[in-house]
Amino acid sequence: MGMRTIRYFLGRLGGAVPTLLAIITISFFLMRLAPGGPFDAEQSLPPDAMANLEAVYGLDQPLWIQYGRYLGALAHGDFGPSYRYRDVTVTELIGQGLPVSATIGAIAIAIALCVGVALGTLAALHQDSMIDYATMALAVAGVAIPSFVLLPFLGLVFAIHLHWLPVAGWEPGSAADLVLPVAVLCLPPLAYIARLTRASMIEVLRSPYIRTAFAKGMPLGTVILRHAMRPALVPVAGYLVPAVAAIMTGSLVVESISGLPGIGRYLVQGALNRDYTLVLGMVIVYSTFLIGMGLLVDLLYAWLDPRIRFQS
């Protein structure tokens, strides 16, 4: 059984590497082919200083050589220097920002999953009740109200008027700083997961094997947790990667508003400043992470439904 799962996973891994490579390559060439260089805004530099700068950044080399050097550097975890912040490398920025973004993201997805699944299950068990309608309303609202509207609003209410939470800023180790950003990040996926779980659970509870479980005298809790939960979660597993992608997207806004020094904020700054290496590096980090999530989800599928392990 273990061997089969490992082979399945390796197969998936084999598919992921080319995808990542493709993303890196496409992004790289897009960047280099863009009209104008990164130093166009620097009009104060004399031509030879400009040429020196370009030589330092390797921009005078043929495209293919630049690509090769970039890949080589990547393999060593070196994303190159930032074009805007001269004395900082992108790698350093990633190193500073990634823990922040990862923490917030991880907490957000965890909350979205736990609360979402719980709400969805409750709604499925009490169809057409207040809980059900509330969950449905939450689902629709979660989809429609954008994070960049919600976060300032919540900030207005909780921070400025009620003074319960700080408005913005980041103090390492301060949990209160994280409450609003995490809340806003986790809401849309939470709402969607709740809706997904509800529909899926209703379906699963109609299955013949659930009837068998009840016929055996198993109490409701056992039937839900042991017999119904895993099949019901299959659609949720399918949504995990889009959920993480949504959280990544949301973090761009949330970090910018809250002033949290994560890679989302750096990416936005980089985009505004046309800092090529920074943007490129961030995109690669995000893509790698997403692909990694995809692999994890594949493993999750195998656990949720044993029949998948037996397919080649």
């Binding site: 094997y209 016929a215 055996k216 005298g217 198993m218 409701l220 042991r226 439904d305």
Partner: protein, 327 residues
């Protein structure tokens, strides 16, 4: 045959089951009363849609969400229909068990066989998982499944249909139930396997004083096993008698017709359902008179206006018909 003891294990009185769809109510079961004693095998025979499964789904409180049951269902004197969930859970799966057709979908696909069987004992007898799995292993042997240790660790989709049905039967026997309800236990299986499963049920019956309810659409199936047979049509009992009596002299025209459609009653049933001319009535439409009248060769004008009541015709038999077959 095991001796028939006097204690009624299950008593059903005036059971009605309705399905609600919006404002419409469809009657699936109408005024059904029956009893099953320990050690007795009762067969319920009828076409699909006759309501035979719904009766016992109501007993087990497994009806669909939009179904409503009324009447009285007593298990050893304890009323089940209004019982609280906890009381029901204590009895279901231990003393009162049910086996369903289509074993492929009746077993949870992501749990190993051992877990699905052991959980019954863990729950009802408070055993540890290890003890329970050992007991499950013993039961697998008892229902004659090959390589039981291996099967315990496998998933339902790795077993054949016949094995799965045996697992289901084994699961229902783990707590030594007083009554086992088998709903079309062989319909989804092929012919050779059917015979084996029936043989299994027969030997289980000999070994214990358990009562069995056998639900089927095929008379041939119940021939070797049943002590008494109840015939159901459109949600009502039309005839009830001992097996010997019924096979020798079916009184109700429906019973007679149904028997003729079954092949030689050798205990192995055919692939396709028996076919009579016409269709069973739409349960959503109320009819005056006897529900079988449109398809009945004995029907008269009286039959279409005046519904025959179920009456005792002696020797423990019952009949609901104005113009029965000759005695």
């Amino acid at each position: 045959m095991a001796p028939v003891l006097a204690t009624p294990a299950l008593e059903i009185e005036g059971l009605n089951v309705d399905f609600l769809r919006g404002t419409r109510a469809t009657a699936a079961v109408r005024d059904v009363s029956l009893s099953v004693a320990l050690g007795e095998c009762l067969a319920i025979v009828g076409e699909s849609g006759s309501g035979k499964s719904q009766i016992f789904l109501a007993v087990m409180d497994l009806l669909a969400g939009n179904a409503r049951a009324s009447g009285s269902v007593r298990f050893f004197g304890h009323e089940l229909l209004s019982a609280p969930r906890s009381a029901l859970d204590a009895v279901r799966g231990s003393k009162l068990t049910m086996v369903f057709q289509d074993p492929l979908s009746a077993l949870t696909p992501h749990l190993k066989i051992g877990v699905q069987m052991a959980e019954v004992l863990v729950r009802h007898r408070g055993q540890s998982w290890r003890e329970a799995e050992a007991a499950a292993l013993a039961m697998l042997s008892r229902v004659r499944i090959s390589e039981p240790e291996r099967r315990l660790r496998q998933y339902p989709h790795e077993l054949s249909g016949g094995m799965r049905q045996r697992v289901l039967i084994g699961m229902s026997l783990l707590c030594e139930p007083d009554l086992l309800i088998a709903d079309e236990p062989t319909t989804a299986l092929d012919v050779t396997v059917q015979a084996q499963v029936l043989e299994l049920l027969r030997s289980m019956r000999l070994e214990s004083r358990m009562g069995i309810v056998l639900i089927s659409h095929d008379f041939g199936l119940v021939a070797g096993l049943a002590d008494r047979i109840i015939v159901l049509y459109a949600g009502r009992i039309v005839e009830s008698a001992s097996a010997a009596q019924l096979f020798a002299r079916p009184r109700h025209p429906y019973t007679a017709a149904l028997m003729q459609c079954a092949p030689a009653l050798t205990g192995i049933h055919q692939e396709r359902m028996p076919t009579l001319p016409g269709q069973p009535p739409d349960p959503g439409i109320r009819v005056d008179g006897c529900a079988f009248a449109p398809r009945c060769s004995n029907a008269t004008a009286r039959c279409r206006l005046d519904r025959p009541m179920l009456q005792s015709i002696g020797a423990g038999a019952q009949l609901a018909c104005h113009h029965p077959m000759p005695a």
